[in-house]
Symmetry: C2
Subunit: 330 residues, 2 copies
């Protein structure tokens, strides 16, 4: 049933990603983008790198575009989706863990005390992560995520999380792929969390999802080999870790990079420093009516240093309120 449900949702979700355009037809490939400098910079860039004979032409093999996920492809307020998943898991598993009633950060989760949870800091987050993400096989974890993402809804918007992806970015992903780009996700989020829905929701296959990871271990069991998820951090794919991961996984420098926070600064710097045509884009959360408005002082998705750097370097800043005709899929 789990497998079938997963397939069904993936099929339904893939409809979302089929809306984008093809550069060779005359219709607008980015219908959810308002006309303006952000849209024209993007379309000019794609035109430039795909036109043979143009000095900015880039062969298809080198057309690599990298996207942050949280806050760049879907909403990250009031908390990262994966944290909301971990919180739900604690509630689900609480009956098997009576000790959580008196142990932080689990007590805070069960009491709905987000202030104490936040105050538990990195140590608390790590405890929460390991208690909910480890000590199971990779297949078991994928099944749990698939069940959750298929049904869980955002606390205030009451939408499925997979319907809180940005329609303009779905169109952009499609537009890039239609022009020979390979689109990668490079996120601080967990790689095995994202891979469950990235193909159905974004059209990004598992091998093009890069993220943070915990260690796994090969074990030969009586039922056959498994990969067991260990309660140990393997890699944090954030900040200076992003260019490291890009080099490790792709081995090529991207020519386009899309982020929304200081966690994406080094990824953008790394991509920007290559030769030839480049496109660096920051999604700026300016729309407190349709989405959220936050930047320099936000606890989540803080955009401060990268905003200054974007100004200095002339990177493209997408003003959600001004540049996006719609935010979420209708």
């Amino acid at each position: 049933m789990q497998g079938l449900a997963g397939l069904a949702i993936a099929g339904a979700l893939s409809i979302l990603t089929s809306a984008g355009g093809c550069a060779t037809t005359s219709h607008d490939p980015l219908p959810s983008w308002n006309e303006g400098p952000a849209k024209s910079t993007i379309t000019d860039f794609i035109q430039r790198v795909t036109t043979e004979g143009n000095p900015g032409f880039v062969p298809p093999a080198q057309r690599i575009a990298v996207f942050d996920n949280d806050g760049t492809l879907w909403s990250e307020q009031p908390a990262y989706v994966q944290l909301l998943f971990a919180i739900d898991r604690v509630k689900t598993l609480a009956s098997r863990h009576p000790e959580w009633r008196t142990t932080q950060p689990f007590k805070a989760v069960l009491d709905g005390d987000m202030r104490t949870l936040a105050a538990s800091g990195e140590k608390g987050m790590l405890d929460l992560l390991m208690a909910t993400h480890a000590d199971m096989t990779t297949d078991e974890f994928a099944d749990i995520v698939r069940d959750w993402i298929t049904t869980a809804r955002h606390p205030s918007r009451h939408r499925l999380y997979t319907r809180m992806v940005y329609q303009p970015m779905l169109e952009l992903l499609n537009y890039l792929r239609a022009n020979g780009f390979r689109t990668y996700i490079v996120s601080g989020g967990g790689v095995e969390f994202m891979r469950v829905f990235a193909e159905g929701v974004y059209g990004v296959p598992p091998e093009q999802v890069i993220g943070s990871s915990i260690e796994t271990q090969f074990e030969m069991r009586s039922t056959g080999p498994v990969l067991n998820r260990l309660p140990r951090i393997d890699f944090i794919d954030d900040k200076a870790g992003k260019p490291v991961a890009i080099h490790k996984f792709i081995g090529r420098r991207p020519i386009a990079a899309f982020g929304n926070s200081d966690g994406d600064l080094q990824m953008l710097q790394w991509a920007a420093a290559g030769n030839g045509a480049r496109l660096m884009v920051i999604v700026h959360h300016t729309d407190d009516r349709r989405e959220w408005a936050y930047d320099r002082d936000s606890h989540i998705g803080r955009l401060d240093r990268a905003l200054d750097e974007a100004d200095r370097q002339g990177w493209t800043i997408v003003d959600m309120k001004r540049d996006w005709r719609v935010v979420y899929p209708q």
Copy 2:
């Protein structure tokens, strides 16, 4: 000059990979393979997974084939090519390191004393690796490898190492790709060593090369951002590490796997345990005239447990002497 030389050799080498066949034409896509059970098992498998309507049909996105490198795609005797590279680097750098004259394992390398070098064990190998592979940027390392692989020759065969790849395997790589497969290298060798030549020699792009790695660190220098190679092991992509790396980098289970030693056993077990049509192949070094003959007692590329497992599981064993019409490109 380095860059141009690299491009030139990549171009020349790519000729090697253009020999393969296309499944839709009538000519033999594997001309360097003698008729026999190994060849027919391979061609039957590809036929089966690519024929729509056949119960074994596999959609293109899931056609993932993984190949070990040393001993599976090119020769690994009398030592791994990357070790011979490290030895050459020690000789090149010796004038800057007078202390190496009296320090093991460097003294052994400079004295040509392979017995003492081998006796230095894992610690010695690690010292040799770090002294020759770290403390430089990723770009600098790639340039050094490119210069070396373009000119260095095998100690007894006097061929370029890139001409000691197996012609039948080049044909097989092409044959698989012509049938919608993505071909990955999954090797114990260093990922940044292999990526320099894997595309030109094997037609395998950087993002499909998985290997062992040392840590890198993002640094912002006055000339721009770099990734600096640190003298610390990041991951050993061998034995039980191979399925871990396959899952981490690809996120899908391969349907075909090719190896030659016990270091590939877990990769083959992992790939074999998936549902649907599977192809597991072991290259058995049986040809002491055209290549080398070794298996259960070899120090390099030992094939013992995996040979037993192949018998038990009915995996395909390629007998180099019997099954290959030619070994190296002519």
